[in-house]
Symmetry: C2
Subunit: 210 residues, 2 copies
Amino acid sequence: MPQRGRPRGFDADEALERALEVFWRQGYEGASVTDLTAAMGINKPSLYAAFGGKEELFRKVVARYAEQDMEYARTAFAQPTAYEVVATLLRENVLAVTRPDRPAGCLSIQGGTACSTENAPVAGFLAASRLAGERALADRFVRAVAEGDLPADADPAALARFVMIVTEGHAIHAAAGVSREDLRQAAEIALAGFAAASGARLPEHATNPA
Amino acid sequence: MPQRGRPRGFDADEALERALEVFWRQGYEGASVTDLTAAMGINKPSLYAAFGGKEELFRKVVARYAEQDMEYARTAFAQPTAYEVVATLLRENVLAVTRPDRPAGCLSIQGGTACSTENAPVAGFLAASRLAGERALADRFVRAVAEGDLPADADPAALARFVMIVTEGHAIHAAAGVSREDLRQAAEIALAGFAAASGARLPEHATNPA
DNA sequence: TCGGATCAGTACCGATCGGTACAGAAATCG
DNA sequence: CGATTTCTGTACCGATCGGTACTGATCCGA
């Protein structure tokens, strides 16, 4: 169905992708509208017309990131045991924060942790996004307890928090240039901690990395 | 010994302290010179005269933070065993990132992880500062291996990296408002992971938190 | 008491910020 | 083919950025 008026001269989906990478690499405050429009291949008025503005663009970008780049988390949640959920999550996280075709680290952290008072809503929004992921993981552990996969005295919230803490540290390290292999080793140590602390049932082939 | 010329009308040490908190709360890019001078109680030309400029001020502030707020790390390193080093480090880190009289989190992370290309040296400087701390911890573990406190096949660098990853995650969580008690639980899980992965000799009173 | 040294405060600098106005271009509809 | 709609590009907006010039204030030394 043809739409009236001049057609856009750019692919909004592709432009959003380029914007995502700028925010990921430079953070919300470090990315200027000039940086964004240069990467997106459009002019400022087009950014405003198509995406609403800098902050709205950022929120769209974070939604896209959650939907696409965090797909591995949903895959991990589907594993049959808590141990395998965490093993998959941590290992895939290490891959995700060190992709050669993506900025290093994690947008939901580098997007903004400390901001000016004007931009505090942006940092708050990212923190809420991370917390949502943590709650989803805690919920998965609640189910593991209900299924007898984790012992009754396991603390789903604390375990989920620990796993998220490790993924955040992965992102900080990756953004600082630490290699995938170095992070992989740390992930295995974290998995050992999860196993020890949670009383999780281990798969038969699980090994102690140390 | 009296100095010639008009005496400064402010305490440079106290002003540096105030600047430290602004950078810690808002990050290097989120903190404007106006924010800084307002908190320091001085005018712009005084900031330039006394501290050199925004970036020089930041570097001074980070040095001060490493010397004073990271004192607990040096205390932890002096513990007799690797296990106690890590136990002290993680527990004190939880206290440090949730102090009621300080911003939440850690300046060496919130100061800047992702920046504009102009400010990349600032993020690099912080990353180097964190890496220095990690190397110091790895060196302590090398000594633990040499003393027989850690087994010969323990990997000091990987273990140090894991511990630093956890402290970074602590800072991100704390900055997002997570409570000291919640972080304490996660720290104990991390400690369990360290114990499991490192083959460290445990103190007699060590307990499994789960 | 005056000169010299150093500091504080006000005004100002050029550059860039996030954002918008407006004219012209490119499309569809009747 | 003209009207309408939608988009692009250029120029521009007020505000704030990091930083400096300059004048007057406040000290010490001779």
